[in-house]
Every structure is written in C-alpha cells, then in structure tokens.
C-alpha cells in the first residue's frame, strides 16, 4: 500500500509540474503568436533556460541530501 501510494503521489507530483510549466510556456508562446512572431526573443529563451537550470540545481541538491541521509 505504501509503495502504491508513493507511486501515485509521484505521478500526481509530475502531472502538477507538467501543468504548471506548460502554463508558463503557453503564456510565452501565446504572447509571441499574438505579436505575429514565430520565434521567441533571446530574453524569453533566457528565462526558459534559467528556470531549467534552477530545476537541475534542485534535483542535484535533493540527491545530495538523500545521500547524506543514507537513502
């Protein structure tokens, strides 16, 4: 039961993150399309990549913390 609950909880977590991120990207894409652009600006790309780098840092930190706790 615990394993199943954990797996379901992880699936919910992923779905929530996907929805949140897709909403953010959708806003950028919608803005670009509204302005008649087929390309995102360098600033928009920078914001997307900066957020991605921050997510990587979160994952690295989480792995390090788990290792310290012997997990």
């Amino acid at each position: 039961m615990t394993t199943n609950t954990g797996a379901i909880s992880a699936a919910i977590e992923l779905t929530l993150q996907l929805i949140a991120k897709a909403t953010e990207i959708s806003t950028l894409v919608s803005k670009a399309q509204g302005e008649g652009r087929t390309e995102l600006t360098p600033e928009e790309w920078q914001s997307i990549k900066t957020a991605d780098d921050a997510a990587r840092t979160l994952l690295v930190d989480a792995i390090e913390a788990a290792k310290e706790q012997g997990r």
Partner: protein, 215 residues
C-alpha cells in the same frame, strides 16, 4: 427494530411535493392558461418564484436526507436498512483496514482531480505553431521532470540512486535540446527536428519512469 413511517410524515417526501409544485405551472402554461390570465412580465415573475420554490424544496430535501433521521417508508426499505445496519456493524471491526483504504481512495481522488485539471488545462494551452514553440514546450517538460524528480527524492519516493538516473537522462536530453536550438539558429531545420524528436523520446521515457519508478 426499525419501524416504517407514513409517506406524508417524511421530510423528504414533503419537500418533494413542494418542489414539484412548479410542474403544475408548467402544465398550465402548455394549455396557455398563464398567457390568458397574466401579462408577459407577470408570467416571468411567476416562473422565477416557481423556480425558487422548486430549488428551496430540493435543497431542503437534501438537507433533511443529510441531517435528519431517515426512517424507512416501505417494508422493503425497512428490511434493506436493517441489513445495511448489520453489515456496517460488522465492517466497524475492520476499521484499521478501512482507514488505510481511505488513504488510498483519497490519493486516487487527488489523482483523478489532477487529471481532470490537467485535461482542462490542456484545452487552455496555446497550440504550438512554429519550431520555436515546440522547442519551448520541450524545455518546459524537461524543467517539470527535473522539479518533480527533486520533489520525489525529497519526499523519499525516489532514492538518491534513482534520482541520479533521472539526472543523467535529464542532462542527456538537455544537451540534445541545446543542440536543436543551435541547429535551428543556423537554419538547419532537418537536424533541429531530429534532435527535438530524440530529446522528446528521452523525456517521454523519463516521465514514464517517474510515474512508475522501479524499486
């Protein structure tokens, strides 16, 4: 011992009778009675009052069902109620198992809600029309996968080793996404499309893994 009561003694039946009063008005309007007697404005007002009465009746019926004693109205209902009470008394003895089951049900309900919100959200997302749009969404999925993995590791749903597996694949897919970005900037759409397809494939596998991590 449960005793049945008379139909008209039931709060729910009384509320039902009030609620269906509006039907009388509807039947009368089929025969044009209201139009002959009342003006158009008065008819609208009567319809509104009728709707309010119906709504009030239904709300009270729901309240009475939830908050008041609900004695059976027929002999067969009384028999079924006795059986139900007997079953619930037996079920109480397994309350430990029931509470665990409730946790699972709660999680499943949460998942269903999230899926529903997800489907609702999908309809609201702007459809990608250019390569840049699709590449941006792929970066978004990449970010979401990393964040979800980090949260799952923190919540002890993934081990550090599993987190490292996700990180390695995430790094691989990020390099491929960056290569697609460079290729499209250089005007090499064919290479860019190939790189995006490859990165998307890895990201799909990562999502599958995160939804069902192996022990």
């Amino acid at each position: 011992m449960l005793q049945k009561i008379a139909l008209l003694d039931s709060q729910v039946i009384r509320a039902l009778l009030v609620a269906i009063m509006g039907v009388l008005g509807l039947v009368l309007s089929w025969f044009g009675v209201d139009e002959k007697i009342f003006s158009a404005e008065a008819t609208k007002l009567i319809d509104a009052v009728s709707l309010l009465i119906t709504t009030g009746g239904v709300v009270y019926a729901a309240y009475a069902r939830a908050m008041k004693p609900t004695p059976p109205l027929t002999e067969s209902a009384a028999e079924q109620t006795r059986t139900l009470v007997s079953q619930q008394a037996g079920a109480k003895m397994q309350s430990g198992a029931a509470s665990r089951s409730n946790v699972a049900n709660l999680v499943l309900a949460g998942l269903a809600l999230v899926m529903m919100l997800g489907m609702t959200g999908c309809a609201a997302f702007t459809k990608p029309q250019s390569f840049d749009d699709r590449l941006a969404y792929a970066y978004g999925v990449h970010t979401a996968v990393q964040t979800a993995a980090a949260n799952s590791v923190n919540a002890k749903e993934l081990s550090s080793a599993q987190g490292e597996q996700v990180l390695k694949l995430a790094d691989d897919s990020r390099r491929i996404l960056d290569a697609a970005s460079v290729a499209i900037d250089a005007g090499d759409i064919r290479t860019a499309e190939g790189q995006l397809a490859l990165a998307t494939n890895i990201l799909t596998q990562l999502q599958t893994y995160l939804r069902r991590p192996s022990p």
